[in-house]
């Protein structure tokens, strides 16, 4: 299968890339790792007239902490995260995701930011970004803006990136010493999208209460969802099995999955509940709390 014809640009500066995107408007698409876009083009689900290949732009591969945030540039590949020992040891949720997103070869090209921009309803990074309260930095003709992930993820395959804009980085809050997380994904095989998955991140107070918590679920609705009611139940509380059960139940309440070869509506909805529960228990276990 061969993609439709397109005009190819490979700018060497961000300014040039933004100018090209501005000039071609909605005709143009950014080409990052291509691991979602190229398959979509081969199936002719996407037929952009112009591709702006950002792979040679300087300064977009930073993966560093600054001002309490982990900055993940738009050219940071999944493997950059997977093979980074600092991230693997301190960012439990991100580390978990980096080992299950797509397959090991795809991860050498696919980017974290590209995955957020793609906003696949079954994407893994979107759920993780919700749970860790990430932000996306967007550059366009009008300058730069930063969006909370909840505002960024608008709908299936739709983000708040406007005409002529490029996402330049994602920012994840640096986890403190009493913060941990987990990603629980059911997949039929390596390289398959989730049947259902849940991302959780939580921070405990010194006396063992839940200070802050983020819960995201994916593949169980038209887009990744924040389980806000579950978060609300847990916030400020001492974790117990009953409380976790109640919070997990909230995931099933908001799930509205499509049945497909991976499972029925009922199964996926129930897995949203099960995986949120497991994720919370695993994250707590990583903080030394056994329930």
């Amino acid at each position: 299968m061969i993609p439709g014809a397109f005009e190819y640009h490979r700018p060497t500066s961000l300014e040039e890339a933004v100018a090209l995107m501005g000039q071609h408007g909605f005709e143009a698409r950014v080409l990052a790792g291509g691991q979602s876009l190229i398959p979509a083009m081969r199936y002719r689900l996407a037929q952009p007239a112009v591709l702006v290949d950002i792979n040679r732009l300087p300064g977009l591969n930073q993966l560093s902490e600054e001002g309490g945030m982990l900055r993940v540039g738009a050219l940071v590949r999944d493997t950059d995260v997977e093979f980074n020992s600092g991230i693997q040891s301190r960012y439990a949720l991100i580390a978990d995701v980096s080992r299950v997103v797509a397959d090991p070869i795809v991860r050498f090209r696919g980017t974290v930011v590209g995955s957020l921009c793609h906003n696949d309803p079954a994407g893994d990074w979107t759920a993780a970004a919700l749970a860790s309260r990430a932000q996306v930095v967007i550059r366009g003709p009008a300058g730069e803006r930063t969006e909370a992930i909840d505002d960024f993820l608008v709908d299936s395959f739709t983000t708040s990136i406007g005409e002529g804009e490029i996402a330049v980085e994602a920012r994840f809050p640096v986890p403190g010493p009493r913060t941990s997380g987990a990603y629980e994904k059911i997949e039929r095989k390596v390289g398959d999208y989730a049947t259902a998955a849940a991302a959780v991140q939580l921070e405990l107070t010194e006396d063992g209460r839940i200070q802050e918590v983020g819960i995201g679920v994916t593949a169980v609705a038209l887009k990744a969802l924040r389980v806000a009611e579950g978060e609300r139940l847990l916030r400020g509380q001492k974790p117990t099995r009953d409380l976790i059960r109640a919070a997990a139940e909230e995931a099933a309440k908001i799930a509205d999955p499509n049945p497909d070869a991976r499972g029925s509506k009922e199964y996926k909805r129930d897995m949203a509940r099960v995986l949120v529960g497991r994720g919370l228990i695993k994250a707590l276990g990583r903080l030394g709390v056994q329930l």
């Binding site: 291509g34 083009m41 792979n55 397959d103 090991p104 070869i105 795809v106 090209r109 390289g191």
Partner: protein
């Protein structure tokens, strides 16, 4: 578009459309060891190495994007008539039956051994989980990678001591 791709150490001039996939560009040069399998980015038989140690599915990259990188295909592994240790190991351990996945398997294995010269069985199975084989059941592929790890490890030890002399 006129582009130059550095494949197996040689600059090759090509005239491609931007939409030409790297896998097709490579095969059109007569380097048909890079196979095309699933045609949907899933099977890994089209895996090549960019810049010596980065495995990519060449069916999921445009040839134009590969400009400026070095590309290694299976044809580039043997040197001066000697099989690369990974090729020798796949041969010795019978790490293939039909051979269709073998080029991709070997290139993905080399990338693993580059960053982890001493992988556990689990590491090997994990690293190769994006490359599908429908014949072997993977057992002998794992054995082959283990043999190659041993041979390549010895070789670099040998070089180290030679340099010390």
């Amino acid at each position: 578009m006129e582009i130059i791709l550095n494949i197996n150490g040689q600059d090759r001039k090509l005239d491609v459309e931007p939409r030409t996939l790297l896998a097709h560009a490579i095969r059109d040069l007569g380097l048909t060891g890079t196979h095309i399998g699933c045609d949907s980015s899933s099977c890994g038989v089209c895996t090549v190495l960019l810049d010596h140690n980065t495995p990519v599915k060449s069916c999921t990259m445009f040839a134009v994007s590969a400009e400026g990188h070095t590309i290694t295909t299976v044809e580039g592994l043997a040197q001066g008539g000697n099989l690369h240790p990974i090729q020798q190991a796949f041969h010795d351990q019978h790490g293939l039956q039909c051979g269709y996945c073998t080029p991709g398997m070997m290139l993905a294995s080399i990338a693993l051994l580059e960053r982890n010269p001493n992988p556990s069985e689990e590491d090997i199975r994990f690293a190769l989980s994006g490359n599908l084989c429908r014949c072997t059941g993977y057992q002998n592929i794992v054995k082959a990678v283990q043999q190659a790890a041993q041979v390549m490890g010895k070789k670099s030890e040998g070089l180290g001591s030679a340099a010390d002399d």
